[in-house]
């Protein structure tokens, strides 16, 4: 089991080791200690390895992740799992702003709260937050799911495309072109699947409300033709 103590080993050694993993590598369980808020911990993993980070991290942990299963036993700074492609990133604590930004796939689980702009410009990633999310979450979200077990801050889903949003608690306000939508059986199934994948199977899907795009902002309206 490769172990890295970031109090003694440079971060680049860790990321080089992660990038050197090939399909033939046997040793696939990485342990990282003393991250002490370092930036870019375990970014760019492209093989199905497991990475356990013991402590809190700074910016961009797990960024660009493809295939790896990364667990942060602590809190994460801005941009955790930014542009994730696949795999899974789990934050046991809280996450700072723009968690999962621009993510194209995979699952991001934040067990605590996420702050502002969670899932901004998400493009296929699934994000499950155990607590609350801050303002402007899922801004311009294009696809994927954002599940919030707590409350959402101001302007949820502003300028939303086709990302699907589920919130169990209160929504402080909806952003432009974001509306509440009917919860149909297929949505409840999706929620059940995502909550189970996030290890939150005890949370009841029926308690959520669904939000999505009214599709008035990103589609051309013939009545506006004069404006062009």
């Amino acid at each position: 089991m490769p172990a890295f103590d970031l109090a003694a080993t440079p971060l680049r050694d860790l990321n080089h080791a992660l990038h050197a993993v090939t399909p033939k590598t046997n040793d696939r369980a990485f342990e990282i200690r003393n991250p002490r808020g370092s930036h870019a911990v375990a970014v760019g993993c492209s093989e199905p390895v497991t990475v356990a980070v013991h402590g809190s991290v700074g910016y961009y942990c797990g960024g660009m992740n493809a295939a790896a299963d990364i667990t942060i036993h602590g809190s994460a700074g801005p941009g955790v799992a930014e542009n994730m492609m696949s795999g899974r990133v789990v934050v046991e604590g809280d996450a700072s702003q723009y968690a999962g930004a621009t993510g194209r796939g995979g699952l991001l689980v934040i067990k605590g709260n996420a702050s502002s702009r969670c899932g901004i410009s998400m493009k296929g990633i699934d994000i499950v937050v155990g607590g609350n999310v801050g303002h402007m979450s899922a801004f311009m979200g294009q696809s994927g799911h954002l599940v919030v077990c707590g409350d959402a801050g101001e302007a949820l889903g502003d300028s939303l495309y086709e990302a699907k949003l589920f919130v169990r608690g209160k929504v402080k306000s909806l952003g432009a072109d974001c509306v509440e939508k009917e919860m149909r059986p297929e949505h409840l199934q999706t929620l059940e699947r995502l909550l189970a994948a996030a290890g939150m199977a005890e949370v009841e899907p029926a308690q959520f409300r669904r939000y999505g795009s009214a599709r008035k902002l990103y589609t051309f309206n013939i009545d506006n033709a004069d404006a062009y």
Binding site: R36, G37, S56, G77, P78, D94, S96, S116
Partner: protein, 309 residues
């Protein structure tokens, strides 16, 4: 970018280590801004006396002149402590105005960085580690302190453009962000008789808070009104003689992390700045909410946070 750190001690047993802890926090933030660095430390008060911190670009030739000026105003009753390019004059409160007038009339280029019963400000261009060692910050004791390392955006890289900014006795402010209505505000404040040393936007924020507090607001109230009157991006950390405050704008894109234990309240632009603090693993660590005022006061009201929005 810019990096901010702040430390407000609740446990008096930590006061001997304030300078050391704050120095380590600030040095950790060096890569957020290499242009200039500064620290405000709130130390011990002597009843009836004020500390006037003065900076000079030519201390060797100018501080002897400074000494003469001080002696003319206060005789031998005002000891001067020189630390590199800064000098701290301890003087009777009622003689501060006369000292200011004497400095203003002198042809030298030294300038007053701060005036306060307890606060001293040290700031220069260069890296935090150099600023910290030039002014022997590590050995300083005190109740609370604020540090800043700057990546300049709105005005020149000069000593005066470095943070913290002080626009009132024992008051200082550090800022990460940029204000967009600072020229208008500066004009308003000039009309109210507040003077400015620089073209810097952050100095306007400091002066704004000073004006509000002069008009009778406490630190928390002054910060709350700042949300209505300041336009732009900001994370502020503010110090007064007994208080310590934090404010982020409603967009909150400038980072901020806070930690609180029974022994201290700490602020960092990043969690990295906090990891060396005692008991950090058991601390309550959180990201301050947008458009929310946080302030603590040694004269009570500790831990108070109120939602302004």
């Amino acid at each position: 970018m810019c990096g901010i750190v702040g430390l407000f001690l609740k446990d008096r047993a930590l006061e001997d280590r304030l300078g050391e802890m704050l120095s380590d926090m600030l040095i950790t933030m060096t890569d957020r801004g290499p242009d200039s660095a500064g620290i405000a430390i709130y130390g011990k008060a002597t009843p009836g006396r004020m500390k006037v911190t003065v900076q000079s670009d030519a201390p060797r030739t100018e501080f002897p002149v400074l000494e003469t000026l001080v002696r003319d105003v206060a005789g031998k009753s005002a000891p001067i402590t020189v630390k590199d390019s800064h000098a701290v004059i301890e003087i009777d409160r009622e003689k501060v105005d006369a000292l200011r007038a004497a400095f203003a009339a002198a042809p030298q280029t030294f300038r007053i960085m701060s005036v306060g019963e307890t606060m001293e400000i040290y700031k220069e261009t260069g890296l935090p580690k150099d600023v910290v060692s030039r002014f022997a910050i590590r050995s300083m004791r005190g109740t609370h302190g604020i540090g800043h390392t700057r990546m300049a955006t709105e005005s020149a890289v000069t000593t005066l453009g470095a943070h913290p900014f002080s626009t009132g006795d024992d008051q200082c402010l550090v800022h990460n962000g940029s204000l967009s209505n600072h020229n208008n505000l500066r004009r308003d404040l000039l009309r109210q008789g507040i003077g400015f040393e620089t073209e810097n936007d952050s100095e306007v924020a400091a002066a704004y808070l000073t004006a509000r507090m002069r008009a009778g607001s406490n630190l928390g109230e002054a910060l709350t009104s700042a949300l209505d009157d300041l336009d732009g991006f900001f994370t502020f950390v503010v110090g007064t003689k007994t208080g310590f405050g934090v404010l982020r704008d409603p967009i909150a894109c400038k980072p901020a992390v806070m930690a609180e234990t029974e022994r201290y309240v700490a602020f960092g632009s990043e969690y990295r700045a906090l990891v060396g603090l005692p008991g950090i693993d058991a601390a309550r660590v959180w990201e301050p909410e947008p458009a929310s005022v946080y302030f603590w006061d040694r004269d009570g009201a500790a831990g108070q946070a109120m939602l302004a929005a």
